[in-house]
Each structure stands twice: as C-alpha cells, then as structure tokens.
Symmetry: C2
Subunit: 235 residues, 2 copies
C-alpha cells in the first residue's frame, strides 16, 4: 500500500517563534525597545500605560499595540494620550502571537518610535507561551489578586524580566504579603527585577521609569550603530 506522508505542523510554538524572530529583526533594525506586558484581567496594564506615557512621551516616541478579545476601549484610552495605538481583536482568542504583531506593525510608523509597548490579552496563563519578538517580558500582578499567584501560575513569573506589583495603595485593606511575592518570584526567577507601584497614586513609578529609559537608551545606541554609512563596510 502506498505510504502518503501527511504534512503536519508539529509545533505551533516553533512556527510562532519564527514569526517572533522576524519581528525582533524589524525592531532591532529600527532601534526600538519593545516590551510584552502581561497580567490577569484588571491588574492595571492600561493604567500603567497611561501613566508611563504621561511621564515619558516628551522624551521619546511611544507606540502601543493593544490586545483584546473584541472591544477597542483600551486603544481608545491610549489614543487620547496622543501616541500611536493599534488595537488587535483576537475574536475570543486568549493570547497574542507573532503573526498578529506582524500585521499590527504595518499600521505603525516605526520611524517615530523609541518604545513599543504590547499590551497582551488579560490572562496569566496562555500569553506566557507565545513570544512576540519583544526584548523583555513584563508581568504585572495586582496585590488584590493575592500573594499565592507566583506559586500557582509559575511560568509567567519565571520568564519575565520585570515583575510589577501594582495597586500597593490597597495593601492596608487586603491580606496580601508583598514579601512573599518577592520571595516566591525570586525562587522562580533569580535575575528578575521587582517594582512595587500604584498606578492610582503614582507611588513607586521612579524605578520603573528609570528602567524603561535605560533600556530605550541602549536600543537607541543599537540604531545609531546600524546607521553607520554603508561605505564604511565596503573596503
């Protein structure tokens, strides 16, 4: 009997990684620093963007890609801040992927951008598995979610460069122990940074903004390096 090989995409994550890598090349050619911001629903991602844009938009070009199941309320909030914003609607899908970002990039003028923030779908599970081409993953946790989250959802705390512990203004009214969050996330991710913030009051924003500015500076240097005239390479 004839043997027919059925072509199968054996690893959907592998296919995604290829697209993510293409995105990364595009970001690096443009010298843009790109972060993938992930959290549970309602941890405060969009509020973080609003406050970060307010603080930094005068000093750098900022663009935002918003991932949501079907609404456009978040992108509308961001557009009011006067920066470029694109809304991706996943049509019920639980995470962004490399392909969606590739399509969204066509709607942005990257030549005006130093910092691109991708706000993922609110979900502490699925987004952790899909690279988008970002340079750094940021995980955000609201203290109202409780201090057991790193133990219960370890992957997303393990892979992030920065953990933002948000809504610290609510600490007096919850049983959340931030020391426990720091300890358990450090076990998963010894090199990760932790910043405690309140998007409501602005408390703790200094170190977060400094980290962003430092990273943007590094990526501007990459762009400056790439801008060496072609004849420099021709002998």
């Amino acid at each position: 009997m004839a043997q027919i090989k059925v072509p199968v995409v054996r690893n959907i994550l592998q296919a995604n990684d290829r697209l993510a890598s293409e995105n990364r090349n595009r970001f690096d050619e443009a010298g843009i620093f790109v972060v993938n911001l992930m959290s549970s629903p309602g941890a405060g991602k969009t509020s973080l963007l609003e406050k970060t844009i307010d603080a930094l938009a005068a000093r750098m070009g900022i663009a935002v890609i918003e991932g949501d199941l079907q609404s456009s309320c978040d992108a509308e909030r961001i557009q009011k801040k006067g920066v470029q914003a694109v809304q991706i609607n996943t049509d019920g899908g639980c995470h962004l992927d490399g392909n969606m970002i590739q399509i969204a990039l066509d709607s942005l003028d990257l030549s005006q951008v130093d910092l691109l923030i991708i706000e993922n779908v609110g979900n502490l599970v699925c987004p952790a598995e899909f690279n988008l081409g970002e340079h750094e993953k940021i995980t955000m946790l609201s203290v109202a979610e409780g201090d057991d989250k790193p133990i219960k959802y370890p992957l997303i705390f393990q892979i992030c460069s920065v953990l933002l512990v948000n809504k610290i203004d609510l600490l007096p009214y919850t049983d959340c122990d931030v020391a426990k969050i720091r300890q358990t996330s450090k076990q998963l991710n010894p090199a990760g940074k932790v910043f405690e913030i309140s998007c409501r009051t602005g408390e703790g924003f200094g170190p977060w903004l400094s980290w962003i500015e430092e990273k943007v500076g590094e990526h501007r240097k990459i762009r400056a390096g790439a801008a060496v005239p072609p004849q420099a390479d021709s002998h």
Copy 2:
C-alpha cells in the same frame, strides 16, 4: 493514486461536549447539583468555597474538584474543611475539560454528595468555551479588577447563571462602579443573577447561599424521582 482518508477530530469542542454530557448523566443519576466556578486569578474562588462550606456542610454533602496548573495549595485549603476534594493539575493547561472531570470523578464517593463545586483554572477567557457537564456556570469578578470586564471579556459573563461580584469591602478604595457591572452584564445576559459579596467580611452571602440551597433541593427531588423501583417500568 490511492486516496487515504485521514481521520481528523474536526471539532475539539464537539468531542468535549460528548464527554460533558456523559458527566451530566452521571450527576443526574446521583441527584447532585454541580457548578463550574470561573474567574480571573485571585478573584476569590477558593475563599468563596471555604465560606460556603463553613455555612452549608452541616446541611448537605459537599465535594470540590480543584483545577490548577500545577500546585495543590487550593485542594489542601479545601481538605482542611473536612469535605472531599480532588486536585486536577492541568500541567500548564489554561482550562478544565470534560475528560479531566471524568477522571477526577473516579476519586470521589458521589453517594455522599449533594453539591459538587468545580473550581476552574483562574482565567477569564478559555474556561468559558469548555462545558464540564455542570448544571450552572458561576462567574466571579473582583471589584479590584474594574467595571469594564463584562465589556472586555463578554463570553464568560454571557453564559453564566450567576455573577458573583466579590471584594465589595474594597469598593471605597477603588474606582469600580458596581452599577456599571450590573448594567453591562445584564445586557449580555438578561436572565443572569448578580450577587454582591465579600468573602473577607461575609457581607452579602445570604442570597448566594439561598440560591445554592434551592438548587440542591431541586436536584435531590430528581434523585428521589429516579429512585422509583424498576418494576414500575416493567409493564
């Protein structure tokens, strides 16, 4: 050339629905009322179970199936309450499905159970798409997540029988407008009930507990009806 038909599971949700329907038959034969409890991470599902067990365990047999990525902390919390508890670890999977419940049921003595609560993985997206065989879906939302969640994650608010708005003790310290949650969830789901509660203070538990007791009573009657001796059917 020989044509070979490759069997393909075309609709994974259809396959799941078959298993869910088998589970439902098993619940109905045993006269057990079964709920599927869904929410974002940290909305308060396990705290709800603890308080509900404290209030009702003297009056009915309660069992819990806990869904988590890999830890067993929630099932341990429930076992301390002296009721049957089974932990399902999804190994990173973002939702429970009918097959996982079928396997978990083999670890429970259903003859002692009137109420089975299935605590799904903390995720406001994926669990909404998978029936487990439950009689009612319960969605829980913490006021700390914000009042835009029904607009942003509509499916899980559309399909639930009951929406539990939890952590109302935090209302004075947030910008959350519960009237907006009621209004937008009612548009999605006109027949759904909404209970405002605080698992921390116990506020608002009366209507929730009454609803559970009423439903358990209805399902006990189904069991009593099914107990008609077999000879009644033999002529």
